[in-house]
Symmetry: C2
Subunit: 405 residues, 2 copies
């Protein structure tokens, strides 16, 4: 059985690196803080006798050898980079739950057939460098190494240069070898488990995600002298559209989601009728056919709103189909949860995670634990020690079953 | 009769000072460009033998003496400061139409009983320094001199310091003497005259104006993991509100106006449900009772939209009642228009102008001429020479009638 207090202590110790005023964390990918966090966690891995490998995109793999040589590793992990005003648990929990698994195995001198790897993936958050989920994206052949290394932050500094600067430009090829299974423990980042009072969720996949930009163009004019009938008000059209777009998921609960998160006005002046409004649309669903229907309804709404003097332009930003995790891996997690008699539900991740990319080439599943109030990507992100412990216990048992003990 | 080509040439010559790439003007108040514009126009006034006074807020008054000493001046004018991407006619036309009146009187050696003053009001636009319509605001006792002088731009530079720097910190007391009448010629800045193919509008007043900020607060959360039913989406409430608010003027055509010109999202991120939305509301009407009813309907909409978990806050930014210009001055303008047999309508200014403030203490009226497509506050602002000439001709005749010849 894992030791919750030890796991908690490590979470709190890591949270001291890049601590923020409101009790959160700022360890943007490949900054000095990220380096300090990496160094600290690696020192803990080494204390457990693990060997360390760094690949060319800076992913870190800590290995505990198995009884048998030449078997594919069973892997767990997550990320330790954070949002600019991030929390102490997002990502960090998955890595340190992996560390806690290793500590527990060492403590009880339990050997496994397969080696166990704990991974720290580079730049999951995508706050400093896009694309997001970079390290796992390269590992799963979704991104090329060159695309990733040449990504630049707003100051024009590249991933390549920052990896060198902080000493994490590894020499190992990224991926290209067999991994038996990948498990990722993560806070839910949503309200379901916390609201339903459940310590764990068995995660069977992730919602598909279609991202768009809509640009509505009318004509800006002075709010005073322009009679209503002469106006080509881009916000009037946009607010009607947004009202309708936000209902697209209503008949598709609980797995349909629609969000307008970004909206930019031009010229955004109190006494000017808006000439141009740009807004983002984020559609999600667990089922590809439903997601495609949502896409169709959305584009039909845009069509229906077209009128003389108003132009509506649609740009597709990204399309990621729904992810279905591996049945055997999901069963491993479910068996572990049942053996521990933990109240739980099966659920689908609403957000993208490293596991989503890795599942493209490795049998994968995830374990969710609640975060308080469902609040994440926020300095006040919080979680309960006993539930973090329960999730790590599930991770331990699933990994043991997979690695053979 | 005024000479349209001479007026046009002066407009084009002034437009060279602070010319912008798209054919517009950038002469922000009290910048080097504003100084250069002031110097140029003053040199033209001096060429006509006029005396120049500068008051403590930098308003410029060019005087052509009357036959009789000690009579109150008849005044016309406008401003020569512009928006950052402003046009060649907004403000400039009113000042240079005044100059053209003087040139015409000199040319034909016409004397008047009352002196004639042509005024250039400081900082009408309010782009660099708020409050807007600053010089005329102090002249009409709406603002105090101290409020105006201590206003600062975004860099923290004060009106007081900039007036000194450009040499326009005059010594004359601001206002405090009788003015017999004030006439301001201006482009309409809206589409009515241009659409109806009319060369002039007789302006009988200005719409009242109520400005508000609405702040809708929900809770931001991750767009992926948050089921629709858990959300407190500030944009959902805002877009419903905006839809309804934008109909408030529908039953009040043509004099009712409603505009949402500014909208700011927090945190404005593609995959975050908006936690806070702030937007402006601009209500206008020619009739105070109707404007107050619009206010009531607007606040009732905010009340009706209140729901669990969403906070709606209202801030009143400014309230300016409808302006009714002086009947005798309006008649002077109407008589001049009729004498010239110009097709015209009587209309109400949708925007605030120096004349709106001045009408609080001086008998005032305005003359509008079309701007092409109703486009103003834009580098592509344009107007037709023959209509600018017609407006100046009306100004000449109204001033002559008032000043006694
Ligand atoms: N976890 C996370 O924020 N992933 C980014 C992509 C998404 O919005 O799901
Ligand atoms: N002319 C002008 O833009 N005035 C500012 C106040 C208004 O919006 O009417």
């Amino acid at each position: 059985k894992v030791t919750g207090s030890r796991l908690w202590q490590s979470l709190m110790d890591l949270a001291k690196v890049g601590a923020t005023p409101l009790g959160g964390n700022c360890r943007l990918a490949l900054t000095d803080e990220d380096k300090a966090g990496r160094d600290l966690v690696i020192s803990w891995f080494r204390d457990e006798g693990m060997s360390i490998r760094i690949d060319q995109i800076g992913n870190i793999f800590a290995r505990r050898e198995g009884r048998q040589t030449d078997l594919a590793p069973v892997m767990c992990g997550s990320h330790i980079d954070t949002q600019p005003t991030g929390g102490r648990f997002d990502g960090n929990y998955g890595v340190l739950a992996g560390l806690e698994v290793i500590r527990t195995l060492n403590e009880h001198k339990i050997e496994t057939d397969h080696p166990i790897d704990v991974a720290i993936w580079t730049n999951e958050e995508g706050s400093r460098f896009v694309p997001v989920m970079m390290g796992s994206g390269v590992f799963s052949n979704t991104l090329t190494l060159e695309e990733a290394l040449s990504a630049q932050d707003k100051a024009g500094i590249s991933v390549r240069d920052e990896l060198k600067r902080i000493g994490y430009a590894g020499t190992e090829t990224v991926g290209g070898y067999d991994v038996k299974a990948y498990f990722e423990a993560h806070i839910e980042q949503g309200p379901v488990l916390d609201t339903e009072n459940l310590p764990v969720g068995v995660v069977s996949g992730a919602l598909g995600l279609y991202w768009y930009d809509v640009i509505v163009t009318g004509q800006e004019c002075h709010a005073g002298p322009s009679p209503m009938s002469y106006r080509r008000d881009a916000l009037k059209t946009s607010s009607q559209l947004i009202n309708r777009i936000l209902t697209i998921a209503d008949s598709r609960q609980p797995d349909g989601r629609v969000t307008v998160g970004e909206l930019d006005m031009h010229p955004n002046s109190r006494n000017v009728v808006p000439g141009r409004v740009k807004f983002s649309v984020d559609l999600r669903h667990s089922d590809k056919a439903e997601l495609d229907k949502m896409h169709d309804e959305f584009t039909a709404l845009l069509q229906a709103e077209k009128k003389e003097g108003i132009e509506i332009e649609l740009k597709v930003v990204q399309k990621m189909p729904p992810t279905h995790f591996n049945k055997d891996c999901i069963n491993r997690v479910r068996d572990a949860v049942n053996a521990l008699k933990l109240p739980h539900i099966e659920m689908i991740s609403g957000a993208g995670h490293d596991a989503v990319y890795l599942s493209r080439t490795i049998p994968t599943a995830m374990i969710f634990v609640p975060c308080i109030g469902g609040i994440s990507h926020n300095e006040i992100e919080d979680a309960r020690p006993d539930e973090l412990e329960a999730g790590a216990h599930v991770l331990l048992n699933a990994m043991l079953a997979e690695a053979g003990s």
